[in-house]
């Protein structure tokens, strides 16, 4: 049975080899169809991936409330040189949130741009003043040493924990734990720990969390105060809290929690427009919806090219059947049944498209790499997409081969033998 099938396939290949150019052109139709299906799906998968990862890194059960500088009006900017621009979240608001959502974990965050120096190594970065719960809420882990403790908070200790990249920059050769670094021009901080490398997890002010240094909330407040000078506008700004992270117990509670927060913050901050509430879960879902839509559109476009390939196969198979009418007559005279003829031409069409599919798979896996390389566009080739594309291509051949094969089988043997 298998040997017979192999024989039919071999026969199919032989017949296809008779018209090499025609067969390869037909194959090309399927080839590009399959390649475009794979490539498009890979681009589609890859397209949203970075955004999705960023949202996931924010934490799917978190709601992030950030202070943003409100849009400046003419009036305020004219008086800018003298006055201090105050905006954003206030310290007591964190406590109110905690009271409103007792199940949640609330973390306050202050951020200051400072230079950090160790010996000859210097780096301008963001000093994050925060609390103990920051670590679990952001899902980060300590690589070496320890994280900040309640005691550090109470003592307003001059201790810091370094992000992985910052640790490498300041201490390329030695273990940073126990060493001191200079923050700004006058404050010495003792390094108590280094965090695990996070990858691309986004941090404040265009940095990544790997480049930040983390200090106790209380120390940040004592050392750096609440007012900073914005170097770009050269004016003083007062911000108490740059961010409040609220971690809710489960994803189901994110949406109601976010609504509570919006209602609570709206009266104070709504008119000023000085905060921004980000719900990673909502963004994630929205992004995923968009990506699915995008994928669907791409898949449809790619399928059309497969369809065109299939029509090409049908066309060629019809020509082949007409051309080989005599052969069909001979085979029928020698004892071939209709089903043998159907089988022969179906296999031929299948081989034609499967060959196209095979090469198409190869090309389809190369194209995304080229796209990634030349256009810096993230692509992801899912193995099941490849399998799917290949199976579809083989199916296209068989489906579009049915009618020609049926025509071949239903020829009158006498007529077929007489055919010149």
């Amino acid at each position: 049975m298998i040997a017979d099938m192999l024989r039919v396939v071999r026969l199919g290949l032989k017949s296809l080899m008779v018209h090499k150019l025609r067969s390869s052109l037909t194959t090309a139709g399927i080839l590009f169809g399959v390649a475009s299906v794979i490539a498009m799906l890979a681009v589609g998968e890859g397209a949203g991936e970075e955004t999705l990862k960023r949202f996931r890194d924010m934490g799917v059960t978190n709601v992030l409330i950030r202070s943003v500088k409100p849009e400046e009006t003419q009036q305020t900017s004219s008086s800018s040189m003298t006055s201090i621009l105050g905006y954003g979240l206030f310290y007591p608001e964190a406590d109110r949130i905690q009271n409103l959502l007792p199940q949640s974990t609330v973390v306050r965050v202050r951020e200051f741009q400072r230079g950090v120096m160790r010996g000859e190594n210097w780096r301008s970065t963001v000093i994050v003043g925060t609390e103990v719960a920051f670590l679990p809420v952001t899902n980060m882990k300590v690589q070496e040493g320890r994280w900040l403790t309640e005691l550090d908070m109470q003592k307003q200790a001059n201790v810091c924990v370094l992000g992985a990249s910052l640790g490498k920059i300041l201490f390329p050769l030695e273990n940073p734990v126990g060493q001191t670094v200079m923050v700004g021009i006058e404050d010495r901080f003792t390094v108590v720990g280094v965090l695990e490398y996070q990858g691309r997890a986004a941090g404040p002010n265009g940095t990544t969390l790997d480049e930040c240094a983390f200090v106790p909330m209380s120390s940040s407040r004592r050392r750096f105060g609440d007012t900073i000078r914005n170097p770009s506008t050269n004016r003083w700004e007062a911000v108490e809290l740059h961010e409040i992270k609220v971690k809710l117990p489960s994803p189901e509670e994110v949406e109601p929690g976010a609504n509570v927060l919006r209602t609570m913050l709206q009266p104070v901050h709504g008119p000023k427009g000085d905060i921004e509430i980000t719900v990673p879960l909502e963004l994630l879902r929205e992004q995923e919806r968009q990506r699915q839509m995008f994928n669907l559109v791409l898949a449809i476009i790619a399928s059309i090219s497969l369809l065109v390939g299939g029509i090409g196969i049908m066309n060629v198979m019809l020509a082949t059947v007409t051309e080989r009418t005599r052969e069909i007559g001979i085979r029928r005279a020698l004892g071939a049944k209709k089903r043998h003829i159907v089988q022969q031409f179906l296999v031929e069409a299948g081989v034609l498209s499967a060959l196209g599919g095979l090469v198409g798979v190869g090309l389809g896996m190369l194209v995304p790499q080229a796209i990634t390389h030349f256009f810096k566009q993230n692509t992801i080739v899912e193995p099941y997409h490849v399998l799917l594309a290949f199976c579809i291509s083989a199916a296209v051949g068989v489906v579009f081969g049915i009618y020609p094969a049926w025509r071949a089988a239903n020829m009158d043997p006498v007529e077929a033998l007489r055919h010149e």
Binding site: V18, R331, G335
Partner: protein, 240 residues
């Protein structure tokens, strides 16, 4: 009429009619033909064009069915069989030889020889050995891997004869088997037929060539779809 012998009947027409409807007219291509082919016969069927030769050939070869009457192959009535069953009869009982050889161009000689057995699911060592044996028998032992277009007409027809013998048919059915060959090659092919006969091979040739018909034992003359006469070529001294 045919002379009675004790050899078994392997193919028999009983009052066979084949009518074609052409618009308003009914063409009686065969109009009540009865005849028998016995094992070991060498029979030729002759007639002018339009006499019903081709129709008779098609029915003999199970490529077509009679409108009325019965056709027995190996004692079995095949006149009402469906397409599938007829294909089986063709594949098992009949060895076709055509005027234009009808080898499949993209296949080698060996593969061409294996085609009839392939459709009976008998491809393998058996079919290969048989093909080698028959190729040897028709004088083409060394050509198994050649393609048809690398062979002369006479050689192609030898391959076709070997192919017709692959399924050990009840009879060979040759349609103008030498029509595309020159005289000397024609003689070679007819000589080959003669060498097959001692093995009990039954041969039916359909031809309009008197020289070909003269080599057979009997000739059946068709005229207007009916048997006009039977001629015993041996009695007439027509054979060698």
């Amino acid at each position: 009429m045919q002379q009675p012998t004790d050899r078994p009947v392997i193919a028999e027409f009983v009052d066979v009619h084949r009518h074609y409807v052409m618009g308003e007219n009914v063409v009686r291509a065969l109009d009540g033909v009865s005849m028998q082919v016995r094992k070991g016969d060498y029979l030729s069927i002759m007639g002018r064009s339009g006499s019903g030769k081709s129709t008779m050939l098609n029915i003999l070869g199970c490529l077509d069915r009679p409108t009325a009457g019965r056709y027995h192959v190996g004692g079995r009535d095949v006149s009402q069989l469906d397409d599938n069953a007829l294909s089986d009869v063709r594949g098992r009982e009949i060895g076709f030889i055509f005027q234009s050889f009808n080898l499949i161009p993209q296949l080698t000689v060996l593969e061409n020889l294996e085609v009839p057995l392939f459709y009976q699911g008998r491809v393998g060592r058996e079919s290969r050995e048989k093909a080698e044996h028959l190729a040897e028998r028709v004088g083409l032992g060394g050509r198994l891997e050649h393609r048809p277009n690398e062979l002369s007409g006479g050689q192609q027809q030898r391959v076709a004869i070997a192919r017709a013998l692959m399924n050990d048919p009840l009879f060979l059915l040759a349609d103008e088997a030498t029509g595309n060959l020159d005289t000397s090659t024609e003689k070679e092919i007819l000589d080959l037929f003669d060498t097959l006969r001692p093995d009990g091979v039954t041969i039916v040739v359909v031809t309009h060539n008197p020289n070909v018909a003269a080599r057979s034992d009997h000739t059946l003359w068709l005229k207007d779809g009916q048997v006009e006469s039977w001629i015993d070529n041996r009695a007439a001294g027509g054979a060698q």
